[in-house]
Amino acid sequence: MRAIEVLGVSKKFKIPVERADTLFERIVSVFSGGLRYKEFWALKDVSFEVEKGEIFGIIGPNGGGKTTLLSIVAGILSPDSGEVKINGKVVPILGLGVGFNPELSVKDNVIIYGTIMGLRKKEIERKFEEIVQFAEIDEFKNAKLKNLSSGMIARLAFSTVINTNPDIIIVDEVLAVGDINFRRKCYRKLREMNEEGITILLASHSPEMIRGLCNRAMLLKKTVIEIGEPKEVLRRYEELNAKK
């Protein structure tokens, strides 16, 4: 069964040549002959499928459309054309600790973040100990968030997200934060979750991550350049980089 199906997705961004974020600027622009936009295709005709239980990696250069594609799959952005089909509950990890508030306590933040990610409040409260333990911040669990280091906050965020019972996780580069030990722990956890049948779609710059974690991979540079075995895709990626 397919977890994610992406069919001919294109996305165009309109970048205004002049800024027009205020009513005043809009009015001015009417008199100076309308707003001019530069069109920019971030994605063109992208199609791929991810089977249930797969770890699928996306690699590509900066500005290649990785984050845009993940946002579209997560349902945050809508594509200009094409279509995305999803089977199951998607939890996007596009930024760690979204909605975190430094003035509130660790527990309050876990509750906010967890409910935003679609968990019932009761469930989060039940899992709180587990979350704190995985994040290795047991001794700070009553502190305010602002007293934690940024690494700890990232750990806490990751730990909260993985406890939200997803069917599909979408990960964007975020695990680059934190020290090497925690990163390894995250990878191990992702693999473990994958063995339980959770589908993972991730984007990364790092060939090691794609090689070490993914069943299949895709090279993306506005369009799909290659899909297949991670090894093959990485080889193409090397070629692409060598050309520059």
């Binding site: 952005l77 996007p92 979204v98 508030n101 409910t115």
Partner: protein, 252 residues
Amino acid sequence: MFEYLKNRDIILTLTKYEFKQRYRGTILGVAWSLIVPFLMALVLYVIFSKLLHRTEYGVLYLVVGIFFHRYFALGTSIGLNAITAKAHLVTKTTVPREILPLSTTLAYGLSSFMEMMILLPGIIYFGGDIRFFFLLIVLHPIYILLIYGSNLILSSLNVYFRDLKEIWGVVTQLMFFMLPIIYPIEIIPENLLDIYMLNPLVKLLTAYRDVMIYGKIPNIYDLGYVIVVTLVLLIAAHIIFKKLEKGFVERV
């Protein structure tokens, strides 16, 4: 409607922490925030005492008016930023967008309700009739929905027009003088009265005064008018919000 029910945990959580953050979760915090409106009431009372003496319970008349307007002014000026101030939630999560203005509206609605409660001893002291004070429980949800409708429109427009804040600041100030706060309705000229009374906030404020200080049941027709306007506003606001929502991620 079902969407709201399904997301009740997010709504309640965000509302709770928005409230908590504002007052650090204490009743004393709410009381402390009342210093400003009370000082304002004092100044206005000194200046406009002649006008206010023409109303029954001049002091209470003024104070209720100020506290009523306060929710409109605070609720909408904070609600206006509901989307833009939480840009990260818009660009990185799938949280239904209308929850953002809703939770701000609710948080400020709750604090405004508590502020009115705090007025209760003062109203008793100055001789107000509080027989129907409890009807505030019916009136305040109507007010909250009215503000929510406004905030749906304001918060989504603010994504496209970032100077809306300045313009809206003028509107809230103007509203202070368009409501019978420092003057009795009777001073409005006969020929303008019909237009003046079209403002649902005028009718709602009258209803608030009826239950809070005059011990009267509000006029059912006036209240019906307010409810109808609120519902129409909510429907229109929802349509506008859904339309503008599509550009949030790219513009916020």
